[in-house]
Point group: C2
Chain length 527, copies 2
């Protein structure tokens, strides 16, 4: 029997809270003891990755308290309820089934008479077959020529995740001769976004993927119209250049405006939709269905490790628990995500949505206000760029910001250069290793301006190379981490009521049905 | 006589601190009183912009306390000391002269026998003349053809600012027929970055701008070497494709490896260098020197308003003071920057460096630890994209995050589309107006999950269009805001000792001179 309880009602949390400032990280990471921690505080992940938390301010006693919390909060049982199809998204009264897009984790989930895994798999196969026809040239443009570019039109989860995934694998695919179509993305309702992207696109050879679950997202419909105008002005038939990704009940589903339609459903939230058709169509077109399948396999493997009850075998759960300790016990309000891989340049933006939209809530799943901090602010840029930017504050600012590094032993493009006795890739890796230690141990200096207190905790996810499997595992790791944190905070991590009010007011502005300050702002902005 | 004092020793700060939670923003912004605030709480800025702070949790009493603080902290006098050439960067014993790259603000500043304004102006003219020769074709590639692309190689301030400025004006320049060369940027030591950029560049027609003040930045020299290899492999002479931006004493300054060299000096910090040759060469090449001059004029005009003693006439000082009130009195640890303009997509990344690297410090300018929070975490993405992402947390999360909006009445590209009775641009503007009010006033709902507490403060900078003048004004506004906050916190905002330790340790890793945990991490990363 699952009990949904607030964090501050759990006995295990009380014990954990007593361990505030329990570990002196500077001392823990010094000398050979530090090396032992690096060896021991490592958990294998899916996709050939590993999660190393040696530089987090935890020790065996804290880990024990975290394990007890995981048990009392029934994290494993709650995850099982989710993948077995219970209505976990209580606010919107929906199941939460994104994991089923990559594999079966438990019992068959049947809704509206259909097996959901079979449904997602069917759409995936449809997308794969369509992509193959585009690649072989069975589907061509009006002039009988092959398509060369795919352009995704979507916003939020229909943009950030798929875009981050595309950028993560673009170089890898080029290097492995599997870049079938280059991809571009249009998202912002600012018309300068679409105009700017279209300048770089050869319209006659471009295939557009319109993504909107409801079929009513105003930004996306506006951009669709913008693109259709551009196609018509170029003498092209939009219906021959566009496919839709939507729900079966949406107005887009059966429109003759599209070459094809691919379906998702209400059980997959936007920010969890990269492994559904929302990511599947564009990624299969760009890289081929085999690469997309490898990406799904990595994610599924990560989902399987998320079922482990032992936190030392479950990196997503462990990461979630350590993050909770940092947020609620240590009281740190933000987390930086710092991938030492240019290919992951937009991964932090995806995580920003995933995490902040899921757990940036102040009421629990029953609508009652909680009395503890929930989701932190998430931000980040790739290293080494960040080192030459905001790392100053991370090292010597007045607040402590926990850090999440990601690093790979090998780069993707296979090109490199040896300068001053080391390759670029070695410099990149040397920098991330150096940063972890600089943050953890600091350094005393006679000049206080050059002194570093240390005690700034980080973890690192390490892999051999950013492959499709590794990327899938990375994506699912964070999805599952966020899910476990939502369970711990007793939140519904799968709705987003906080975005509604702005939409309502914007409509009112456009209808000129405003007064007071809203009217005054509208006047200032000439609406 | 200027007194450099800690914030918590100022009598005016004590009075300000007594005004915690003084304004009920929900009530203040409701009804017609809200409209009056929108009208009154607005300050004209340079470049045709205005700074509207109606939705900040301040009133006349708080503003009076802020004005008293500005007086007691001698903000105007400290700025004068800076632009008159005093050694404000005490740690590195340097003057701080970036404002002189755009105009003279006070007395002539003479250093090493040279008038610094004349020096900066001279380099600017050199860059302008060089750019014109490239545009007219007087300077060509070996095959006698014109250059079509400029590629900046730099990191940190040599990348983030110039890149953000280029992206901000690219569409505007295209629309105004003044896009002379397209620009690209290589920054990360990850070899996948350079590889990825070079894939999109026609090397034979590309001009590279190598930017390193010291001439020893490892990431930049590594990328230079990477690019030179690529040029040689394409049968091209690197010396015919590359210029340097550096200091006169750097090893790059007089090298025959470059077509030309342009100079900056130690009085311009990296993150303040967009208006120096660091931004000037690439932007003059991309848009023409006239556009760059307009950009400088906007910045200079903003610097002049920063001299105003009256905070109601000095938007940078007012913005700084309100930010301090939010950070130190209200205790809010982060700030989001949310431009409703796709052209400003990388402006938040630039501000992240500008702000966090300048004021992310825990010792004052005398090296003594301060007992109050200093620089906040800065993050942001363009609206409306952010609305579909992390705004959930901003609206309904447990922490309050102050917001900085930017919006323009007209877009840049001049293309638009009318859907459901409004243009994209109107939708964009309606959204930002709606968000300000949703954050400020919230909305009560019987369903607590759909309830918004409001009381989440924001300001907005509004302009007619993002022109070169407006961009210059925007850039200088934030530079000056950060400077004033540094004065208030009694910090040296112009050094960055926090980035040094990582560099030292990275070198040790590459030399294999490590032990303990650092050695263990290096092994894990196969260095």
């Amino acid at each position: 029997m699952i009990a949904w309880k607030n964090l501050d009602t759990l006995a295990a949390y009380e014990k954990l809270a007593a361990l505030k400032d329990h570990v002196n990280l500077v001392e823990a990471m010094a000398g050979e003891n530090g090396a032992v921690r690096v060896k021991n505080y490592s958990v294998p992940m899916a996709g050939g990755l590993s999660y190393n938390f040696a530089a987090k301010a935890v020790d065996d006693q804290v880990l024990e308290a975290l394990a007890a919390l995981a048990e009392e909060a029934q994290l494993t049982e709650k995850f099982a309820a989710l993948y077995n199809g219970e209505v976990i998204n209580t606010g919107e009264k929906r199941r939460v089934l994104h994991q089923l897009t990559r594999g079966q984790l438990g019992e068959a989930v049947v809704a509206d008479g259909a097996d959901k895994r079979a449904f997602y798999l069917g759409e995936q196969k449809k997308a794969a077959a369509f992509a193959e026809k585009v690649h072989t040239g069975e589907i061509r443009n009006a002039a009988g020529e092959k398509f060369t570019t795919v352009v995704q039109i979507g916003i939020g989860g229909s943009d950030l995740g798929p875009r981050a995934m595309y950028l993560a694998l673009e170089n890898w695919a080029r290097q492995n001769n599997t870049l079938k179509l280059e991809a571009r993305f249009i998202s912002n309702v600012d018309p300068d976004d679409a105009a700017s992207v279209l300048k770089t696109v050869d319209l006659a050879h471009a295939l557009f993927v319109l993504v909107s679950k409801s079929g009513t997202t105003l930004e996306t419909l506006t951009n669709e119209s913008f693109v259709k105008d551009a196609l018509k002005n170029a003498g092209l038939d939009p219906a021959k250049h566009m496919v839709a990704v939507t729900s079966e009940t949406s107005p887009l589903a059966k429109s003759s405006d599209y070459l094809a339609a691919f379906f998702m459903d209400d059980f997959i939230g936007g920010r969890y939709s990269s492994t559904s058709c929302v990511g599947g169509v564009v990624l299969s077109l760009a890289f081929g269905p085999e690469v997309f399948a490898r990406f799904l396999n990595g994610a599924h493997e990560a989902d399987l490790t998320a079922k482990e009850r032992d936190i030392r075998k479950n990196p997503a759960m462990l990461d979630a628990l350590i993050g909770l300790y940092e947020r609620n016990v240590q009281g740190w309000p933000a987390t930086a995500v710092l991938p030492y891989s240019q290919a992951l340049s937009r991964f932090p933006a995806h995580l920003q949505q995933l995490d902040m939209e899921s757990n940036g809530k102040h009421v629990n799943r029953f609508g009652e206000p909680v009395r503890y901090p929930t989701g932190p602010v998430i931000f980040g840029e790739p290293g080494t760029n960040g080192q030459h930017s905001f790392y100053q504050l991370l090292h010597q600012g007045t607040d402590i910001v926990p850090l999440q590094f990601v690093g790979f032993r090998r780069n993707q493009a296979g090109m490199d250069v040896d300068i001053q006795g080391s390759t670029s890739q070695q410099k990149l890796c040397a920098n991330v290793a150096a940063q972890i230690m600089a943050f953890a141990c600091g350094k005393q200096d006679a000049d206080p301006n050059k002194s570093f207190d240390g005690g700034r905790p980080s973890s690192i996810i390490i892999g051999e190379q950013l492959t499709p499997e590794a990327l899938g595992a990375l994506l699912a790791h964070f999805e599952n981490k966020v899910m476990f944190q939502g369970f711990l905070w007793n939140l519904n991590s799968f709705d987003q009521e906080g975005v509604q009010l702005g939409k309502v007011l914007a409509k009112r502005v456009l209808a000129h049905e405003t007064d007071g300050a809203l009217r005054a702002y509208s006047d200032l902005l000439d609406i």
